[in-house]
Every structure is written in C-alpha cells, then in structure tokens.
Amino acid sequence: MTNPKSELTRERTRSAWLFLAPTLVVLALVAGWPLGRTIWFSFTDASLDSIGDSTYKLVGLSNYFGEYGVFNFAAPEGFWQTDWGMAIQNTFKFSLVSVVLETVLGVVFALVLNAEFKGRALVRAAVLVPWAIPTIVSAKMWAWIMHDQFGVLNAMLRSAGIIDHNIAWTADPAYALWSVVLVDVWKTTPFMALLTLAALQMLPRDCYEAAHVDGIHPVKVFFKVTLPLIWPALMVAVIFRLLDALRVFDIIYVMTSNSVATISMSGFVRREIVDNNYVGYGSAASTVLFLIIGACTLLYLKLSRVDLGGKK
C-alpha cells in the first residue's frame, strides 16, 4: 500500500518535526502565549490591579464595539476624531511618508556606495552610524537639536537667514509629526541603503558591460536593468520597514510626549494599559493593531507578489 518513497518522506517529515520542536516550543512560549493572553484580555475588563489576582470578568465585545469600544463609530465628534481614530491616522501618515522617503533615499545612498571611490569603506561605516544609535538616544538627541530655544537647528537656520524666528519643531502641531518623520528617515535610511547595497552587489556585471558598450544612458540603465533586478530585495526591505513603522512608539513618545496630535497606535495602547489602567481596552486596541499590521502585510505581499519563501 505504501511505496518506499513516501515512507522516506514520512521519515523526513518526522525528523523535521523533531528538529523543529524546540523552536516551536520556544515560539509558543515567547510569542504565542503573550499574544493569546492579550487577545484573551481584550474580551475582559482587566486592569493592572486585577490581572494579578484574576478578579476581572468577561465583557464580550464591548472593548471593540459600542460606546466604550475602540471602534466607537457613534462618537459625537466622529470616529476619526476620537483618540484611536487620530492614532490610526497618525500612524499611517507617519508610516507611508517615512517608508517612501527612506526607500528612495536608501536606493540613492546605495547607488553612491556601490560606486568605486577612494575611502568607500570609511563612508560605508559612517553611513551606518545613525542606524547603530539606539532609538531612544537619537530621539532625545534630536529633541535637543530641535529645541525651540536652545536647539542648534534653529540657530543654524537663523544664522543662514532662512527663518527669522525660532520654530518649535516638536511642539507646534503643524510640524511635530513631520519632525518625527524627519528623524526617523535620518535614522533608518542607512538600513534601507544597506539592504539595497547587498542586492546591488549581487548583480551580474555583464548586463552593465553590454549596456555600456551599447552606450545606453545611465538613468535608463537604472530603470530598465538595476531596479527590476533589485526589486524583490527592495520589497522585502520595504516590508520590514513598514512593519516596523506601523508599530512605531519610542521615537514619537520621546520627542513629542503624550499629545494626541502625534500619538501612534502603539502609544495609544501603552497609554490605555499603563497610564489609564485599562488592560482590557488597551489589549483590544493592541489586538486591532496586530490585525491591521497583519492585513497590511498580506495586502502588500499580494500586490507586490513578493515570495518570501524564495521559491520563485
């Protein structure tokens, strides 16, 4: 009934599971358990005081929908003006703009670093510095650089005659979110550049030699040869960045505090759980954030047809 091939396959499957088991157990413990607990809390009225002695009770979907849920579509000021609605808007604005800028700049940087020139190793190392600094440190550093009274940015712009009065970069709602985007771009462009550079270095040289011989304009070469070849790698980098950007918390929190004008979805979750003691409600927001990120990833994979398994 069974042929020897499938016997072998089954044997292989068994050992595969055996080897995977420790990883799966660890994953279940460090990822599955907290995730499951968060989803469970989102159906309860848990608070920081009641999770310790399990005195919370089930409240169904009321943390999600209705007057006291995250999706309060009947809110008098309109859903998009609620704190959660604002958080969603802020997060998406931040993510889209910063990821687009980082990708474009990253490719430009990578092209420069890919060229042969003297001191290239040094420049490559130098470019990585912003990425190496912990976010909390760079955020605080930039908060000082952008300080309206003592900040060096205002001093420089003023002495250059570009502005005539100090701008409150992180305090004025018109600038705050974009200041944060600027710092994020500064910090994360090296990451994009590095991934793009790795892809560039894998490219076959003969295409370029052929293009050179045929006398094709470098810009055309970039769009017709380079970009299609590095596209898959670039898309993977963009996904990583997008996932990272959608759960942004630290940079916004450090630079602009708890203001609803710039609060991100993660910031909202933290505020509800830690500051306001609503573990249940915050967990619901956290679960929605998880679902939104998951949906974005699926949509993105579908649209860009990137095969993360590498079977293409």
Binding site: L48, A171, R270, D275
Partner: protein, 422 residues
C-alpha cells in the same frame, strides 16, 4: 499542602528578615528627578543609613509625573519587591491605594504635626497611606531688575501680566537680546499642563473641572475665557515651544535670563539663587495673577512618601519614611532647596524665612491651594487629567476654539465616568 508550603516560606522569610535586620537591610527608594530632588534625597538617606546601619539604594525614575505613575503601576501589577519607599504625587493616593502600606501603626501620631488637609488627602479608607514630604503650589517668578528698568510692578491680573511681559520683552529684544521671552510655563501634554490650566480656569472663577459632588463643570464661559487668554500668549509673549515644555524646560529659559516671567513650583527658587545662576538676586516671587474679577489660584501639588505593600522590610522602610518626613529633614530641605514644608510650625522659623522669604508672604497661597479633582474621580483621575490636558493643549496650539474644546471635554469626561457615579 499548599498552606504548609506557605507557612514554611513565611517562617523562612521571617527568619531571614530577623537575621538581616540585625546586619542592616537594604532599602530601595525612589525620589524625584526634578531640580535638586535627587541630591537632597540622597543626603537625607545617607544620614539615616549612618544612624541605623541600613543601606539605601536609589531607583532612578523618569522626570514626568505621568511617566512615573506608569512605571509604578507596572511594578505593582507584578507585585515587584524592587522598591520599598516611593515618592507619591499628591493626586495618587486614591489611584494606587491598593499597593501602599498603612503607615498608621508606624507613625506614632507624627502626622498630627502636618497640615491636616494633606494628611486627610493621604488617608484613604481610614488608612494613612503616605506621609507628607513637601507641599507645592504654583507661583509666579519675575525679574525684579527688568520690571524696575521699565517701571513696572509685579502683575496681579493676567491682563497686566500680558501687557508687562510684552512691553519688557519688546524692549529687551530691541536692546539686543533676540531670545528674550515674556512668559514661560508648562504646556506640554502632561500632568503639568493640567496644573497650569486649572490655575487659569480657577482664577477666572471657572471651577475645578469636576466639582466635589462628581458633576463635570468644566464647560463654562469663564473656563473658555481663561483658556482663550492663555492661548493668546503662545507665539506672542510665550515661545511656541512652551507647548512641549515641562518644569525644567521652563526653568532653563528663565534661569538663563531669557524670560521676564515664569510659572513654576517653589523648588525653582533656590536654584535661581545658586552661585552659578545668571539671574541670582534678580528674581522675585509673587502669587499667580487672577482673572478679571476672579481671585488668584494656585494648584495644590506636593509629594508624599509611602511604603510599598510588597516591601520585604516594611519596618525599616517605614522608619526611613518617618525620618525623611520629620521636621529636621524638612527644615533642611526648606532652607537649602526651597521645598515647602508640610509642618505649619516651620513657616514661622526665622532660618526658613530668611532663605525663602516668599514662604511667609505667600503662606495663604500655599495653604489655600486648589486641589485637582483627584479625590472625587479616584482611580480614573489620570484619565480625566489626560483628557483635560489634551483639551487645553488643543486650544493652546490653535487646533480648536476654547468653547468647542470644552464641550468635547465635557462629553469625554462623562464617557470616562461611565454612568452617573464615579
């Protein structure tokens, strides 16, 4: 079986405690981080260590009170034994009552020396959860030299403050100091803004957000007028950056000599008189201005000391709290750090009055300060305050008109209350 284990564990820990009490235990303390809080706390705990043979470790905490509360709440949820003694903001006892030790059995009546209003604030459900450490109220700092130069007097109304600040600021800017500001205060989206806004609203006769019966009163014309006035300062006499200023940011600008007025707590006084301060001997302190026909209002602040319920050494920890809140330590802190004592007798002490003369002249301000609606809103105070500071921030930053913002705030606080009672 389970209980047997518990008994054995309890017996063991008592044994360990007895053993270590003999050798001196280690108590972990979290003091404040604003201004000289840490240095002064360290000095006093060193003295206590020397006296008792115990060791004191200091836990570093964030600067913003909102962040400190968040940190403590996480530690409490884990029943952490990492900290024994914590500093507690005047609005917290109701919020974190479940995690604090009743100091009644340890105080031996020492709390009777302190202001009764603060002691009753710290007493929840009949338990003394915290000892008063220093009290606070918002005050107005001004530059004596600059006001004299322009022939102005310290303002008594907000309109006077606006006019004087504008006049002096414009004059000084023309004279060459382009960075001169008229007024700096705390308008970052955090608890400090709630304190500032409450002062404006209360001084215009706009009430205290939520009244003693639990009714939301913040949506009224006087409150709107107060917030509109304050919004008018942003970008005119106050830098737009105040929208992201906490206490220390404001002090940085003022103490550098770049502002005519500053709203801050009394702690900034001794720092402004330090040897390295550019404004030494140029600073005066008065009560905050009032609205047109209202009266001056200062938000009640101040910090208490509590022992965390999960502490392994409650007796030693309580002893440390009693030492830190004693008259001797409070006197030292009042003289050299301008921290307001919580013991009325110290306001008549000549040494204290010599160091901080305004303690005497502003005695009424300190004893009649306006409390934030923490008692009535209980565990939900922080959320109410966050709604309030965000609504104020919205108005100050020009994102909304005061009356619209207050209307929205009223609905929001009612939603936070979730029903007729708090």
């Amino acid at each position: 079986m389970n209980t047997l284990w518990k008994h054995m564990a309890a017996g063991l820990s008592i044994g360990v405690a007895a053993l270590s009490a003999h050798a001196g235990v280690t108590i972990t303390v979290s003091c404040g981080t604003v201004g000289q809080d840490f240095e002064f706390c360290k000095k006093a705990t060193d003295e206590w260590s020397k006296k008792t043979g115990n060791t004191v470790k200091h836990l570093t905490i964030p600067q913003s009170t909102s962040d400190i509360l968040g940190l403590f709440r996480q530690m409490f949820a884990a029943k952490s034994t990492d900290v024994d003694v914590i500093s507690v903001d005047v609005v917290w006892p109701g919020t974190i009552k479940a995690h604090l030790l009743d100091l009644g059995p340890y105080s031996k009546g020492a709390e009777k020396e302190h202001f009764p209003a603060i002691v009753s604030n710290n007493t929840v459900d009949g338990k003394l959860l915290a000892m008063p450490w220093f009290t606070d109220a918002g005050v107005l700092y001004y530059r004596k030299d600059l006001l004299a130069k322009y022939g102005e007097k310290p303002p008594t109304t907000w309109d006077e403050l606006t006019a004087t600040a504008k006049k002096v600021m414009d004059g000084e800017r023309k004279a060459g100091n382009a960075d001169m500001q008229g007024y700096v205060f705390q308008a970052k989206a955090y608890e400090g803004l709630s304190c500032n806004s409450l002062e404006w609203i209360s001084s215009y006769g706009g009430g205290a957000i939520v009244d003693a019966t639990g009714k939301v009163t913040v949506n009224n014309p006087q409150a709107a007028k107060a917030l509109t006035t304050a919004a008018g300062w942003i970008g005119t006499i106050a830098p737009t950056g105040v929208l992201n200023y906490g206490e220390e940011d404001a002090r940085g600008v003022f103490q550098k000599g770049n502002s005519v007025f500053m709203r801050n707590w009394p702690y900034a006084w001794s720092l402004s008189q330090g040897a390295d301060s550019p404004v030494k001997d140029k600073v005066g302190v008065v009560a905050l201005p009032k609205g047109d026909d209202g009266k001056s209002a200062a938000t009640l602040g101040g910090w208490q000391l509590s022992v965390v319920k999960y502490s392994k050494h409650p007796t030693e920890a309580a002893d440390l709290v009693m030492y830190l809140s004693s008259a001797a330590v409070q006197k030292d802190r009042a003289i050299r750090g301008s921290y307001n004592p919580t013991i009325p007798a110290l306001y008549k002490d000549p040494e204290v009055l010599k160091a901080s003369p305004f303690f005497g002249t502003l005695y009424d301000t300190f004893t009649n300060a306006v409390p934030r609606p923490a008692t009535v809103t209980g565990a939900k105070y922080n959320e109410v305050s966050a709604a309030f500071w965000n609504a104020s921030h919205d108005v100050l930053s020009g994102g909304a008109k005061a009356d619209e913002s207050l209307k929205k705030l009223e609905a929001k606080i009612n939603a936070i209350r979730r029903g007729p009672n708090w």
